[in-house]
Amino acid sequence: MMSNIMRESHIMKIHYLTALVAVGFVIIHIMIRFTHGSFANSLEFESVIANYESIPYAIVLEAMLILISVHGFNGLRIILLELKQGNAYENAVTYGCLAAMIALIAYGSRTIIMATMGMVEA
């Protein structure tokens, strides 16, 4: 069990902290969207790729990806643990959520890094 590695209070401290810091980064993200370029065109492919050319902004996006993934998958783990109990099920949920979180962060980071390095053409 995850509880053998980390105490639940440590996991929950990370849970609360990631939520608070993520809110801060989301505010920064929204403010950048309002102040840089056209808000209406912000979801166009060229605009999205152009975002990653700014390293500080790419760092903000990477931080949001990590914080929201950690918080979200731990939340999912908690919901699933409350739905059903049992050692095998709880181990599957805990390690499944951990693996999904790592996979999502890895895939998202790969995208951010590729776009930042200019490997994705507009």
């Binding site: 509880s3 105490r7 639940e8 209070s9 643990l81 409350e82």
Partner: protein, 266 residues
Amino acid sequence: MTKGGALPKGFERPSSSPSQEKYEKVKPSSKTTTLRISKFNPESDSTSTFSEFKVHYQRWTTVLDAILEVKSNYDHSIGVRYSCRQATCGSCGMIINGKPKLACFTKISELDSDSVTVEPMNNFPIIRDLAVGFERLIETHKRIKPYIIRDDSEVTSETKEFLQSPEDVEKYIQFAGCIKCGLCNSACPTMATDSSFVGPQALAQAYRYVADNRDKGKDERLKIIDEPHGIWRCHFAGSCSQVCPKGVDPAMGIQLLRGYLLGYRK
């Protein structure tokens, strides 16, 4: 069924019954309600059914009085647990008109309803009808070590009495009022889905001892509740505190207990 409850001092039932009118005079405030009692025997029934009885009640008649009236005169098979009849023993917890309450502490006249429906408490296994099993509550209560933990004792001659100031007592005294009736566990939404959850009763008692300055077992207790089905699964619905008949506030105790685990309380 038309029998009334016990009469107060100064009122007497007529020994003979010359007229119904005279009988009505000694029951000035008597009203009638329908008592619906949930019946379920896990050994023979697949679902619960309701038995209905017409009962007379006075201003002071409790739900337990009415159930016992029915049990004495109309259906001896009703399974109900009770003892003190004064909200002290915590035996007669049940769902009354949809809310967890003590039957001995709930007057029919205060329910403001044409009928009274009584069911066994939620989140407890049914033994029979209104009687439920308390094994889980007792097990979780024992697990949090509900006693003062320290190496020395105030009963030995070498040590002095463990004195506490009124401020020290104030920190935990409301939580010492718990009668283990199980109403908080019955009202808890997490208890309904998480069969391993410690529950508000045990968590409130954990706080009661952690907050007691005579106790030295804080770290031991915090470790017990700091697990995947422990204190963190409380979502602060607050229903435990709403239903407590003794004014204990388990939801607050749980939040205060979290303070120790998050490090902002020492």
